[in-house]
């Protein structure tokens, strides 16, 4: 090694040929269940978007009269659409439950110097979910 090289080797540089760097595998998310769970939670957003689009389409066809709505209903009765909706429902439930359970980590509320327990933060989300679902069900089924 020349003196010049020795001098260079002692300096910190981003590229250093003698350090061994491992590449992150493309399939890193299959290595552990928690990583896979994270990727599924991210993927679940696609199905949330799917339900939003379906709801918008439903409202749109409703506004265009009974015939348009009957067409929409026929489309929704297609076995492929039913299967897709069932898978979407599972993903949306997974999305909701995992995020509600994570909410206490992000939301820290202090009352009288004490941190409100996690179960109350997550619980209030579940209560709001139930109440809104009940209101929607009452509005549609009454």
């Amino acid at each position: 090694m020349t003196p010049h090289e020795t001098n260079r080797a002692t300096q910190y540089t981003l590229y250093h040929p003698r350090w061994y760097r491992t590449r992150v595998s493309t399939y890193w998310w299959l290595r552990k269940w928690c990583y896979l769970k994270f990727v599924l939670r991210e993927l679940s957003s696609v199905f949330v978007a799917y339900f939003v689009v379906i709801t918008l389409l439903q409202i749109h066809s409703l506004s265009r009269g009974p015939e348009a709505y009957a067409r929409f209903e026929r489309l929704m009765h297609n076995p492929l659409v039913i299967a897709l909706s069932a898978i979407s429902l599972l993903f949306v439930l997974f999305h909701t439950i995992t995020w509600f359970n994570l909410a206490p980590r992000a939301i820290v509320v202090r009352l009288g110097g004490m941190r409100i327990p996690d179960i109350l933060i997550a619980g209030s989300n579940y209560v709001a979910w139930l109440m809104i679902s009940a209101a929607v069900a009452w509005f549609i089924l009454r």
């Binding site: 250093h16 350090w19 760097r21 491992t22 890193w28 990583y35 994570l102 980590r105 202090r110 110097g113």
Partner: protein
């Protein structure tokens, strides 16, 4: 004959090979031995050329973090009895360049740590004659958990975001920034915001949450980052809705 246990240890010698390889060692198995004891046995009795970092052997210094059977662990707090009679694989911390054997290069973390200014910033320092900065126990409680970080970098080894994007500031540095942001004596939150609210700061985090799982000190870096995201969002809304309030 005394009981033994197999250790598979990563060896990497930049002078002799371009790729690390596992080397098997047989060490005595003792119930009260941690992985670090086994590594010390190898260095003392079997192969003095084995390189690794360690110091306090009591979970304070944060030097002996390695991958033990694929999980980031402090080797001074990981007992062989958790794995016996199976072999224990010891590898250098993931997501960092390897210098030699089990020694990783940590300058990247040190640079990032300094970047987020993890110290108390005052607009105006009080003089010593004015006395200390007082704090109540509940003000201490607000940040105490985040102050337990020992800079062991296990969270960086567990974070897939850091593995994929080395520019990400990372869990420990953000948690330590948040530790000072919520310290009642600190006034530097705005200065830190410039670094933390970048894409490579808090927004790089996708909340995988593994940093918190592997933390030996229960710091909850993932929580710190999400809490800071909320703060940054509130600040952003404030600056849009009340631009006259911005300083």
């Amino acid at each position: 004959m005394a009981e033994t246990i197999q250790l598979e240890v990563t060896r990497y010698s930049p002078e002799h090979g371009s790729v690390p390889a596992l080397q098997r060692f047989e060490v005595p198995y003792r119930k009260d031995w941690v992985v670090l004891d086994a590594l010390n046995y190898i260095k003392d009795k079997l192969d003095g050329s084995l390189s690794y970092r360690w110091s306090c052997r009591m979970g304070i210094c944060g030097s002996c973090g390695m991958m033990v059977n694929g999980e980031p662990k402090l080797t001074c707090a990981t007992f062989l009895s958790n794995y016996a009679p199976h072999a224990v694989r010891v590898e250098p911390l993931r997501n960092f360049p390897v210098v030699r054997d089990l020694v990783i290069e940590m300058t990247d973390f040190m640079v990032k740590l300094q970047k987020v200014k993890p110290w108390i910033i005052r607009k105006e320092e009080k003089s010593i004659a004015d006395g200390e900065y007082m704090q109540t126990t509940s003000q201490l409680d607000a940040y105490k958990q985040f102050s337990m970080c020992i800079n062991c970098m296990l969270c960086y080894a567990a974070c897939p975001v850091y593995g994929l994007d080395p520019l990400f500031i990372g869990p420990a540095a953000i948690a330590l920034a948040q530790r000072y942001n919520i310290d009642s004596r600190d006034q530097g939150a705005k200065e830190r915001m410039n670094i933390l609210s970048q894409h490579e700061g808090i927004w790089g985090c996708t909340f995988v949450g593994e940093c918190t799982e592997v933390c030996p000190k229960n710091v909850d870096p993932a929580g710190a980052i999400q809490q800071y995201k909320l703060t940054a969002t509130k600040e952003w809304f404030k600056s849009v809705l009340m631009p006259w309030g911005a300083r």
